[in-house]
Symmetry: C2
Subunit: 304 residues, 2 copies
């Protein structure tokens, strides 16, 4: 199967710490790389993690708090210095383009690549990106400002041809694609060979959901039902439950509750408050509700 | 003597590397802290170097390239999150305020402290900051855009009273300040005791000059003559001399040439191009011309 992994660049929250960078991660699916969020220092993290800048063509911004977006101007500028010519697409609240325009006009007037802003409506569940193999959907979240998560989902894949059967029936090459798509095969003699004799099941279509920053949102569970991996913010421990409510964040238990309700396969929690010197307590609390939970960390690579 | 030191937070150039952060440094003089330049990631460097955010009240920006200014919005925002109430003063090309305004209006509308932008004319040598103990002067530089260095200079200090003489003549407390300033003492009997018998020389007034980014500028030598420490950019080695000219930067030899001509006491070079895996060659080339040269490095603390 093609590579599908999530590379954590930063999983801290608003205040900088020596333990965690501001939010950002890179999703690699096959030879495509997508970035989610871009807090200050993201480009340094790309360097540290040896991730090629030039393969990133699409950046999804969950919401316009600084710890999720202040790294954009530096990254856009560096792409220019590196001689990028490929278009860069940024998906974010329409306000981002307005706020960045004077900066872009001043600092990035010499960049040689097209930069496109795609305004997204964080309050609506919709497909905002689609190519031949994947879709990206928004997940409406509940934060102090318009904010959405992102669901990356592979499209259904083609069935696998069984080599021996292809040879046995001497199936012409031009017919093989439709058989992979499920067609039966009609022999020159008019016999119909059912698809199930010619093919094996397709690889499963994998999926990844990113939910940060937010109060727990049971409404999203229908969209993320059964995803292979859920990244959910868990800014606070249970002892700070009231603070989580006031600041529109989640506790680790609440994040785990969403994972449980949505029946996801694995949970990774992040967006840790700067008050925690280690996140052991958060992981413990999450695991009490959803055992297959781990804490994010800078450099963590999660294969899906 | 009071503390006077320079703390290097970043000494890389435009492209991020795993070796160097973008330009920034903190100058501590007594209980005051000043920042020069504020590239992306500066607030993280403050954390890493355990420098108190709250003591920084004045930030001087040499010029409006991203690697000297992209960290400002994050720092301003974090000051707000930390509950700062003390005014923050930013000294920079007037364009900075215009470029940042939409960002500040959007991201920082809730900050509780006054933020003042002071426009500076980088082409003019003038005093842009003054308090009871120091002055900060601009040093016009030669870069691809308006750019200036900064000269921090302690004001002349008061002479030291000689304790034995003060006791011998029983000098009243109210007269001691004027004697520290150089006055003679007239005894109740009318005898005049010359100041030189009552005091020792004042501590020397120390000075620090920051020059980045720039072609070598012999014109500044009159202003920085004999400074205790000069930070001068040395983006390139001699083998890249042509590239230094085209990009309006300096080689290590050229930086050392300025140090020599200005008769400074020590030179520290920085703003290293990302092409150097170590800066040995730059230090070597600088020392051939000005032996008391060292390379900057993140975390380096230079006492003056």
């Amino acid at each position: 199967m093609e590579q599908f992994d999530v590379h954590i660049l930063g999983c801290g929250s608003a205040l900088p710490t020596t333990r965690h960078n501001a939010s950002s991660q890179v999703i690699r699916i096959g030879n495509k790389q997508f970035m989610i969020d871009c807090g200050e220092g993201t480009q340094l993290q790309l360097r540290r993690q040896h991730i090629h800048f030039s393969f990133i063509n699409h950046i999804f911004i969950s919401h316009l708090h600084g710890d999720h977006s202040f790294g954009l101007i530096g990254l856009i500028s560096t792409f220019g210095l590196l001689g990028r010519t490929a278009p860069l697409h940024i998906y974010a609240d329409p306000m981002l383009e307005k706020v960045m325009k004077p900066q872009l006009d001043f600092y990035c007037k010499d960049i040689k690549y097209p930069l496109f802003f795609h305004g997204i409506d964080a309050g609506k569940h919709s497909i905002i990106y689609e190519d031949n193999t994947i879709t990206v959907e928004t997940l409406p979240l509940n934060h102090r400002m318009p904010c959405c998560g992102f669901l990356f989902r592979e499209k259904p894949k083609r069935r696998h041809l069984i080599g021996e059967m292809v040879n046995f029936y001497n199936i012409p090459i031009f017919m093989r694609q439709s058989i992979k798509d499920g067609a039966d095969y009609t022999t020159p003699d008019g016999d119909i060979i059912p698809n199930s004799r010619l093919t094996k099941d397709a690889d499963p279509s994998r999926s990844y959901a990113y939910c940060s920053d937010t109060r727990p949102c049971p409404e999203i569970c229908e969209y993320i039902q059964g995803v292979d991996l859920l990244y959910h913010e868990a800014t606070f421990a249970e002892s700070e439950k009231e603070r989580a409510k006031v600041t529109h964040h989640s506790t680790a238990s609440e994040a785990a509750g969403i994972a449980l309700k949505a029946g996801v396969k694995r949970l990774v929690i992040g967006h840790f408050s700067s008050r925690y010197d280690d996140e052991e307590i958060l992981q413990k609390e999450a695991r009490e509700i959803f055992p297959d939970s781990i804490c994010a960390n800078e450099g963590l690579l999660l294969e899906i």
